[in-house]
């Protein structure tokens, strides 16, 4: 069930009144059932998978109450990873193995399985794993109520594309007696409306352009690909930040806090800052559960570089089973290492903030080409076109109106981010002003939105 669908509107109109009229266990039970119904709309066959992940993590969490043996940590982690690997990476690994054999002329034909990727598997397995690790490390107490734990794993606002919320900051609030205040209600609506604006007006509008160029890269020259890469940078930001805001807003409507997932990433002054602002719930997960256990910053310099590369390699692989994602992740890793080295070596050099922001954006922008392209060949072709000046001005044809609206939308989100980044830090919440802004956004959605019911990009991860 997509957030931007009529089904979800009906679902929400039924769910939220019932949710707020109920209390205690019935509140939990309603949330759980609703979350399973929500998930069933994507593919009911994977309900069993969701349930299995829940059982595994719940069971081992309970076992860890009286027994801290490492095996009780390793088994559930391994089970989570096996399930994730099977659905997400099995064909990739087999295919890569065949490719390797093919290099030596051993095999030619590839036998691959038809495996459907369950929506949101990367998110709910990661939530399960973080729970088990936190219990093992005694950061949180294991949850004894199965309904509560199931609700945590399957909570519909963030089930299919995050944010990845830690058990410690969520479970205790599930089913509690918090009342939705009027201000909280307005704040929730504000987040949801801005999220929908980002998705429907910005991401899907920019998607019209990027879909054309990335699907037929050979037809366009470097200039169009350059524009398209910039458009994609804003498309993926608007798409994923939009989803996150809707999820956070829906959470707030349930009186739950999910934390921030994006903090104006394109105003980052360096690549390290970018990762502190982009998909914060994932980057902090990778930091806390991989980077720090590998030694964090407390090991010698060379080891820090290796650890950074490992983390970013896994971060890339998390996004999908293709060489493109791996290259994307590792490239970010290399840039993080370069930045670390630069910062240590040239402490006294200060470049203007604007230059830093622009430079960081350009680097991130070029790396998105790997992320968006269907294959490595396509990415390389696009890079070739961008940097090969002979073809640079080839086929400069585009839909004028879409282009103008797209540029306008990019200008809007940059302006909003600029306002929050540089102009105002602690904004006083003025109800009438906020309601008026919300109305403008809704009018813009109606007038300029793209209502094709397209998926959120991060659903496929």
């Amino acid at each position: 069930m997509l957030f931007n669908s009529t089904n979800f509107l009906i679902f929400a109109l039924i769910f939220f009144p019932i949710y707020h009229l109920s209390s205690g266990r019935s509140k939990l039970f309603i949330t759980l059932i609703s979350s399973y119904i929500f998930y069933a709309f994507f593919d009911y066959r994977f309900l069993l998978l969701l349930f299995s992940i829940t059982i595994i993590n719940y069971y081992y969490g309970i076992l860890l109450i009286n027994n801290r043996r490492k095996i009780l940590l390793i088994i559930p982690l391994a089970l989570n990873l096996i399930i994730l690997s099977y659905f997400k990476y099995f064909n990739f690994f087999i295919g890569s193995f065949y490719d390797l054999l093919g290099l030596f002329g051993i095999y030619k034909k590839q036998y691959l399985f038809e495996i459907i990727l369950p929506v949101g598997i990367s998110f709910f397995t990661f939530q399960g794993m973080s729970y088990i690790i936190d219990v093992y490390k005694n950061k949180i107490q294991p949850e004894k109520s199965f309904i509560k734990f199931s609700t945590y794993i399957s909570l519909f606002p963030q089930l299919v594309a995050g944010p990845i919320v830690r058990a410690g900051s969520l479970i205790k609030f599930l089913g509690d007696k918090s009342q939705l205040s009027f201000i909280l209600f307005l704040k929730s609506c504000e987040l949801i409306i801005y999220g929908f604006f980002l998705k429907i007006c910005v991401a899907d509008r920019l998607g019209i352009f990027t879909e054309q160029t990335f699907s037929n890269p050979e037809n366009y020259g470097g200039l169009i690909h350059l524009i398209s890469s910039v458009f994609f940078s804003f498309q993926i930001y608007a798409d994923f930040a939009g989803y996150s805001l809707i999820a956070i807003g829906l959470g707030k409507l349930m009186c739950l806090r999910f934390g921030t997932n994006f903090r104006r990433p394109y105003f980052a002054e360096n690549i390290q800052q970018f990762w502190r602002r982009w998909h914060i719930s994932l980057s902090s997960w990778l930091r806390d559960y991989i980077y720090i256990p590998l030694g964090g910053n407390k090991v010698k310099s060379s080891r820090i570089y290796v650890n950074t590369l490992i983390v970013m390699f896994l971060g890339g692989l998390w996004h999908g089973s293709s060489y493109n994602f791996i290259i994307w992740g590792v490239s970010h890793g290399i840039l993080l290492c370069i930045y670390r080295f630069y910062r240590k070596s040239f402490k006294d050099i200060n470049t203007p903030r604007f230059i830093n922001i622009l430079f960081t954006f350009l680097i991130v922008n070029f790396l998105w080409i790997f992320f968006r392209s269907d294959s490595l060949d396509v990415s390389l072709l696009i890079f070739e076109k961008i940097f090969h000046l002979n073809d640079f001005f080839l086929n400069i044809s585009f839909d004028l109106f879409n282009l103008v609206i797209s540029l306008f939308m990019i200008f809007l989100i940059i302006s909003v981010d600029f306002y929050y980044e540089f102009v105002v830090k602690n904004l006083k919440y003025r109800v009438s002003y906020r309601i008026f802004l919300g109305m403008i956004l809704l009018w813009m959605i109606l007038f300029l939105g793209v209502f094709e019911g397209t998926n959120f990009i991060y659903f496929k991860f």
Partner: protein, 294 residues
Amino acid sequence: MKNFILILSFIFLFILGDRIISKCLITLSKYSSLPYAKIYSGRAKSEILILGDSRAYHHLNDSDWASISRHKTFSLSITGSPMILQEVLLRDYVNLYGNPKTIVIELNALISPVDKVISLKYLGLLSDNFKQLMRIYYSKQLKICQTFNLFFLNTIDYLNLLHKIAIEYDQPKLVGEMTDNDLDNLINKEYSPYFQNTDYNVKSLERIIRDFGEDVKIILIITPFQKNFLENQFEKDDWFNKIESMIPKIIKIFDYSESVINNEYYFDDRHLNEKGVKKLLNNMNKDNFFQKLI
């Protein structure tokens, strides 16, 4: 209670704003130079009306016709338009200006699907006939549009209308001709029947003839197709005969489908280029077509 009133006021203001903004935006259509915007702002009065889809739009240029025939001519044709949409525009035209002297209909609109309707949905704010058309084919969309009027304006065609306020509309001409590669593709293309009328378009043509045939001269026309395309489409004669059998004998069909032969005159298999349009005009002139218009 106070909060409840605040929310109700917000909803009321939102709907009110939606109505006011959409009303203001649609009023701007008065200043647009786009042909079908002219219909609704009293700027389309003419003696001859041309109806059809992209083939009429490109092949039957109203300003060329007006200068040759010396009768004011206005084209209601729209790229991709089905006959049923043309009927709506015709009825709106007649409601606003009365009957024209002649209606020329390019018959390819009988084949065009109804999809184009949705991209012109802003006409729903200008025309009850158009709303009726939406009610039949896009009822869900119409309901949303009626709830939130701004959604009527959520189309690229409306933005085009706005654009043509600032920039004078100039009917685009098709430039360039079919390449050898295009011809090879056309010849080797897998057969799929083209000349297939859709019921709603046929009924629409019948209604136009029934309601206007007595007072207005109706001329049906088929403009040229590229010869390799026609060779593949062997059911064209059946199509022609079917149309001929359903119309009164007094109405004549001018078949120019094979009147322009050379490939240099074609932009693609179904559209003449700029040179081809001139060639067609010459051929029509030779037949004294323009003398028979009124």
